[in-house]
């Protein structure tokens, strides 16, 4: 039954619509304080209560969110499966090294240059899609990945050393990003901006055309969509974002080697979007969060269990990294078999089940 809409209830509705996001933003702004001081509103929190998280993990999560968002845009929304996403990260990192470390450009320009090079690389990587589809195209992305990482490896050994490629500290004008808190307040609006940009593009005609191409390419072509240009555009945009994320990643770590961009790096993004839900941008945020934060949580449990013996010790203490990998492999498998829509799909199901009871 529809309540009668009065000016009072309208105002209340408007207020309610703004209240939740405002609360969320306030919490997000307070988060770094909680994590650095390990206390909330004056109450000290133990490591376990904070899930063994630090601001570093949150920042890495934000950077990974960029990667997950761009991959979901490409794979979930445009239907172009790519397992070479790490290659674009590597492209961004290499461009950042050339323009930043070697040529000394300022940080904002370095980011821009990484984005442009990423887009160019994406266009190149998308070219095989003009010739092959489906499985063969996936293989071409795999080949592109290995090629780009090899180029990065050669670059690293030619200009730098086996210890890795160093990066200048990131500076936004006079402000230097040298604490995790500063990085947090730089990355958070960036991620939000890109998320809003991508989701509004998906709601517009451009996005609908993309999804039409994903769902039935021939029908989309018959409806007048130039799928070839569209594919290249999707690749370019997604790779530009990923390359910028790669530059940010490199600057955050201040030193990267080519091993950081192995195929398992690319695979983890696919795992993120599968867990989060393909095609759902919000889902990829959740997937990235889970992926980055779960190892810390497990490490937290491990340090608690350091006294115990037997199989618990074997799993948690000595083989912590392998345990994380095992859990993630099995998590992805479980999601694929039982919840193919990912977390977003589960959320949708929950909402449908409980929403319909209230009625409209």
């Amino acid at each position: 039954m529809n309540p009668i809409s009065t000016p009072g209830s309208q105002a209340a509705g408007r207020w309610r619509r703004w209240a939740w996001p405002a609360l969320g933003v306030a919490l997000l702004c307070y988060l770094p304080v909680v994590l650095t001081e390990r206390a909330a509103f004056g109450v000290a929190l133990s490591n376990m209560q904070l899930l063994n998280l630090g601001l570093t993990q949150i920042n890495l999560m934000l950077i990974a969110m960029l990667g997950a968002l761009s991959l979901n845009y490409l794979t979930g929304c445009a239907g172009l499966i790519s397992i070479g996403h790490a290659a674009f990260y590597a492209t961004g990192a290499m461009t950042a090294a050339i323009t930043g470390t070697q040529w000394g450009w300022p940080f904002p320009l370095v980011l821009l240059a990484s984005g442009v090079m990423g887009a160019a690389m994406g266009l190149l990587a998308g070219l095989p899609s003009l010739r092959v589809r489906g499985l063969y195209f996936v293989l071409s992305t795999m080949a592109v990945h290995f090629l780009v990482v090899y180029v990065f490896l050669e670059y690293q050994f030619k200009f730098f050393d086996v210890v890795g490629v160093p990066y200048n500290p990131a500076k936004l004008g006079p402000l230097e990003l040298n604490t995790p808190t500063r990085w947090y307040f730089f990355l958070l609006p960036l991620v939000a901006l890109i998320y809003l940009g991508l989701s509004s593009s998906l709601r517009a005609r451009e996005g609908r055309v993309l999804m039409a191409m994903r769902d039935h390419e021939l029908a989309a072509t018959a409806a007048g969509v130039d799928v070839r240009i569209l594919r290249l555009k999707a690749f370019g945009l997604s790779s530009a974002i990923a390359a910028m994320a790669g530059a940010l990643f490199a600057h955050y770590l201040t030193n990267v080697t080519s091993e950081a961009f192995g195929i398992s790096f690319a695979i983890q993004f696919i795992a993120m979007i599968i867990i989060g839900g393909m095609g759902s941008l919000a889902g990829s945020l959740v997937g990235a969060a889970l992926w980055l934060l779960l190892p810390s949580v497990i490490s937290g449990f491990a340090s608690q269990a350091s006294g115990s013996t037997g199989i618990v010790r074997l799993l948690l203490v000595e083989n912590r990294a392998q345990l994380v990998q095992l859990i993630f492999g099995m998590l992805v498998i479980v999601f694929l078999i039982f919840a193919p829509g990912g977390v977003a799909g589960l959320g949708r199901q929950i909402r449908e089940r409980f929403g319909s009871k209230g009625g409209r």
Partner: protein, 288 residues
């Protein structure tokens, strides 16, 4: 020198051909692009370590153990992981095999430790001199056994009734169902064979190098091999494996050891752009 390189390329290529054959069998039967095939190779090496070093079985029994364990693993994977995902989009299945390889790798490293284990078998490891060529007996054994396996499976597919049923199932699932063939059993058989072939490859690679999870990247070279040869073609997989082995050894000797993988992937890219259905494959026709 060139003859040397060619010979080791042929020997390694025979092993790749074996792994690629297993891959092609799985792909032809269930249309699953098994990214975990490289991990199955590693499993084979570790089954060998278990059988020989840990259980102390005599060599013939060890071989049976390896093949049996691998076949069982293949069947279980199909029953619990692949069958529930039938009809799902390709990315799901690919990602499942990738996740499977991650999980298996982690499990192996937890159980056996992250370092590799040396594998000692009674296989001959000496060198035979043939004129100017130094031929490693191990390479020769690996090549001969691989060829024997490939020929054996070729004969199995062509001449036995089970092989005929498998080929029929691979050609058309619905038609096979209607003819009364138990498609699930055929698929499980395909997975068992694919896994077992990879395991035998792992046995040899583990002996040639060391039984470790790093063997996965070598096993993954079977993927370009299958694509180059033609994904739906059994002889194509074998030829692809041989080509990959030879090219890899040539690149490692004449360019640089690091570049051998890259040359293979560049070749893969080239084939995908020029002739994606491979040397022996058939052009796929799409249905609107």
């Amino acid at each position: 020198m060139l003859g040397q390189v060619l010979f080791s390329g042929l020997a390694l290529g025979s092993i790749y051909g074996l792994v690629a054959l297993g891959f092609a069998v799985i792909f032809k039967a269930t249309e699953v692009f098994n990214f975990a095939q490289g991990m199955f190779v590693v499993c084979g090496a570790y089954f060998a370590v278990t059988a020989i070093s840990l259980l102390g079985l005599p060599f013939p029994l060890a071989i049976l153990f390896i093949i049996g364990a691998a076949a069982l693993m293949g069947v279980l994977i199909h029953v619990f992981l692949i069958q529930p995902l039938s009809g799902r989009p390709m990315l799901s299945v690919i990602m499942l095999t990738i996740a499977l390889s991650i999980a298996i790798r982690a499990l192996i490293e937890i159980v056996f430790g992250p370092q590799g284990r040396t594998l000692t078998t009674p296989m001959p490891t000496g060198i035979i001199m043939l004129g100017q060529l130094r031929i490693s007996q191990l390479h020769l054994t690996a090549a001969l056994v691989s060829w024997a396996c490939m020929a054996g499976f070729g004969a199995f597919f062509r001449y036995t009734s089970v092989g005929l049923l498998m080929r029929a199932t691979a050609d058309g699932h619905e038609a096979a169902l209607v003819s009364g063939i138990n498609v699930n059993v055929m698929n499980r058989l395909a997975w068992a064979i694919g896994c077992a072939l990879a395991a035998v490859g792992g046995l040899f690679l583990g002996q040639l190098q060391i039984a470790s999870t790093e063997l996965e990247s070598i096993g993954l070279l079977a993927l370009p091999a299958v694509v180059i040869g033609g994904m739906q073609s059994i002889p194509g997989a074998i030829v692809g494996g041989l080509l990959v082995g030879i090219i890899e050894q040539l690149a490692a000797s004449y360019i640089s050891p690091k570049s051998s993988d890259i040359v293979i992937y560049m070749l893969l890219l080239l084939i995908l752009m020029v002739r994606p259905w491979g040397l022996f494959g058939q052009r796929e026709l799409g249905r609107v």
